[in-house]
Symmetry: C2
């Protein structure tokens, strides 16, 4: 396992972590000032400043990307299917323009939440099947763009409204089906917050292989968790043994950026400098 304690060379900031404190340009500048070498922007933050400005800002600051958030919301009724495909192809193109190594896919839950206006359904199995079908349909565009799709299993508490792929096992089963040669055109993003509870995660991480391990995100699980969406914990403040997961992914050959993605009303209410300085300190000590 890599020693991260001496510097923060392999730290990446998911820009949602400080989305309330600055726009993308401000975040990029603040990261560059601290010698942070990578970011992972969200689409709405890029759209807010414009894709060209975002590309220029990242390039001028000498930053890399560890990912781009996000494609997905692949479940829909028939009337919303074309919108879903078009949007995912645009997300792939944006990721390529920004030089991202992958597009993170939050696959969607039941159609009425994934694509509002879709006919309501309670059929989670149908939604899960639709994810595989939709991924298959956008995969050629991703291949042409040289943009790997990183399926991110989300915590099961998001199954209804955000992602009906909730375990590494399930994500890898989809990868096996769509990319049996394991070229890595489709792979997974592992986030400690989403997978830490899973007794099965160890055998599943061992199954990934380096080419399919497209991203590694960290944050912590707080007890109690006061809000299902906006109460993620800073690394070290919760119950996740983060180094155990990093050890497991690095044993698969992962040698990329450790991306900190923290959706938290608490941390959003603090100054940008304080958040980034805390992230760096925790990265060096508890990740």
């Amino acid at each position: 396992m890599r020693d991260l304690s001496n510097d923060h060379n392999w730290l990446s900031i998911n820009t949602a972590t400080v989305r309330q404190q600055a726009d993308l340009i401000g975040i990029v500048e603040a990261c560059a000032r601290r010698g942070i070498r990578a970011v992972s922007p969200w689409r709405d933050q890029v759209a807010h400043v414009g894709l060209e400005r975002a590309v220029a800002a990242v390039r001028d600051a000498g930053l890399k990307l560890s990912g781009y958030c996000r494609g997905g919301m692949l479940t829909s009724d028939a009337a919303h299917r074309q919108e879903m495909l078009d949007e995912n192809r645009r997300a792939i193109d944006e990721a390529a323009a920004l030089g991202s190594p992958c597009l993170v896919m939050v696959v969607g839950g039941l159609p009425q939440y994934s694509r509002p206006g879709s006919d309501p359904s309670k059929d989670i199995r149908a939604a899960q099947a639709q994810v595989t079908e939709a991924l298959a349909e956008v995969l050629p565009h991703a291949q042409n763009a040289g943009m790997p799709l990183a399926i991110e299993p989300l915590h099961p508490m998001y199954a209804a409204d955000r992602a009906c792929v909730n375990t590494v096992r399930q994500a890898l089963d989809i990868c096996d089906r769509l990319d049996p040669q394991r070229t890595g055109v489709v792979g997974v993003a592992i986030d400690t917050y989403h997978v830490w509870w899973d007794s099965d995660v160890w055998s599943q991480i061992a199954r990934i292989g380096k080419k399919r391990l497209l991203a590694f995100h960290v944050c912590d699980w707080l007890v109690p968790t006061k809000d299902m969406l906006l109460d993620r914990g800073m690394m070290g403040d919760g119950v996740i043994d983060i180094p155990a997961y990093r050890r497991a992914v690095e044993a698969q050959g992962f040698d990329g950026f450790v991306e900190v993605e923290l959706l938290s009303s608490d941390w959003w209410s603090r100054p940008l400098d304080e958040v980034l300085d805390t992230v760096i300190a925790r990265y060096r000590t508890v990740v």
Copy 2:
């Protein structure tokens, strides 16, 4: 699949559903007045009125039990281990006194939450291993008492503080290990709320077999879920296709009570009669 639409002969009320409205005696009487044939009491509700009064009330009302809630919290540090074992043996004895068909086991999360005062740990794998060990240790007492232990996998959002067994697969793996002959001395309780998200649940329910399927609980998942503990939905108000899960368990030979267990600030704020009447109506139409 059984037709439940004509009566409520196979309905059981988990007494936590109306714990704010009445004590156990009041709940038992209200159920009996409506021809509800079974309840599943909680230990603290039994303790509040006294075990002997509880036994008499259930007997005099002609009610059966569909379960007894709960044993468990099996994870602890060494200093709290004896307390944990003693308490589980007492819970087994109470379940037998009440004539319960099983003792529901909420297995505990990390030791510091399961047994307050225990040394804090982030090792969820160690907690999971401890669950199997502790179950093995109380199993002889359960066998002597003729009291099957029903492991209830809880939703993964409770992994840290309530139960580190979060899937049917994981529960059955423990059963396989402790009871390879599948006598049913240890089995599972399936609750739609906890398992509905799991793409793996269908193959795992198919693996249970009648003897290990000790209880079937229903309620619904609301979107949004405003509170992780106390915002469960009345059947029909959420996104779970409850009949699909009932069909799956009944295909395994399950022919027992369908237990409604609803922890909800909303429903706790309504009159006892309204809650029970709504439960009966929903049981007949959407379960």
